[in-house]
């Protein structure tokens, strides 16, 4: 059962982190470090955003051999639009202090 609701501040924070590097694929751990979100909060947001077409995800082959592929994420135009629409909300990345 899907529910439509206004994006939370944490969701906007995740989208901001992805929007700061729109062409790069970011790992979950990187996003967690950028947003200072715990995995318990981060992954439900990533799942929800992916289901709503706000971001895309894919398994990336490891750079170092012998390691497993990692799931990476990149913002989609719909996500960028949502972020732009929510510009009134102050969303800052804790580490970089980047306003969006």
């Amino acid at each position: 059962m899907k529910r439509k609701r206004k994006p939370s501040r944490q969701t906007l924070l995740v989208l901001s982190a992805l929007a700061a590097r729109p062409n790069d694929w970011l790992y979950g751990l990187e996003i967690a470090q950028l947003t200072e979100l715990k995995s318990g909060s981060l992954y439900p947001i990533l799942i929800r955003c992916s289901e709503r077409g706000l971001l895309e995800s894919q398994w990336l082959e490891p750079i170092v051999q012998g390691r497993p592929p990692r799931h990476a994420y990149r913002i989609l135009p719909l996500g960028a639009d949502l972020l732009a629409q929510s510009h009134r909300q102050i969303v800052r990345l804790p580490d970089q202090g980047l306003p969006t």
Binding site: L29, S39, Y43, S57, R70
Partner: protein
């Protein structure tokens, strides 16, 4: 990347078990990231479990709620339909064996049906029923039936008959669990046949 500890492995397996098949890819993603975490890795693994529960709740909350409330629902439905005396506990408490026998079938059917639906439709149903039906629900009923003094049942002057509500509640829980067991077996059979095809 380092080896995961036993607790971290258990947490991740639990996350995988809780999640829906459609979300398993995400759980796998979390598990891989856990191996990349250098500090507070246990926190990250625990977060994965929390994420699995939250996602499950977001997608399945009506069924989860039904499963959690099913033991209470049995009592309420029985009481509303046939009066409190029609429940196992009520019948035994009032020593009305005839009433108990007459009402046995509908009471049994309702309890079995609720247990069945909860578990057949919801993977975590059996766990929830086990927790609520065997622990929370009996404790609550003992508390109500003994007017907030469950120790009274163990008093040296207490009659053995005072234990009948306890037996009644246990029987009712057992009936609910029977439905849950059938639901679980059928669900596993469906899952196995779907997998083989």
């Amino acid at each position: 990347m380092t080896q995961l500890s036993l607790i971290e492995v258990i947490l991740l397996r639990l996350s995988n078990w809780i999640s829906e098949p459609a979300d398993r890819d995400w759980i796998a993603a979390m598990a891989v990231e856990t191996t990349e975490v250098r500090t507070n890795r246990l926190d990250w693994a625990a977060g994965c479990l929390l994420a699995a529960i939250r996602t499950k709740w977001e997608n399945q909350w009506p069924r989860l709620l039904l499963a959690m409330a099913s033991p209470l629902l049995v009592v309420v439905l029985n009481a509303l339909t046939f009066g409190f005396a029609a429940t196992f506990a009520g019948g035994l408490l009032r020593q009305e064996l005839f009433l108990l026998i007459v009402m046995l079938t509908p009471v049994f059917c309702v309890a079995v049906l609720i247990g069945f639906v909860a578990v057949h439709q919801f993977p975590l149903g059996s766990t929830i029923i086990a927790a609520t039906g065997n622990v929370l629900f009996p404790l609550m009923m003992y508390w109500i039936l003994t007017s907030g003094n469950p120790v009274a049942l163990l008093h040296s002057e207490a009659s053995w008959l005072s234990l009948t509500p306890v037996l009644g509640i246990t029987a009712q829980t057992f009936v609910l669990a029977s439905g849950a067991y059938i639901g679980r077996r059928l669900r596993k059979l469906n899952w196995t046949s779907a997998k083989s095809t």
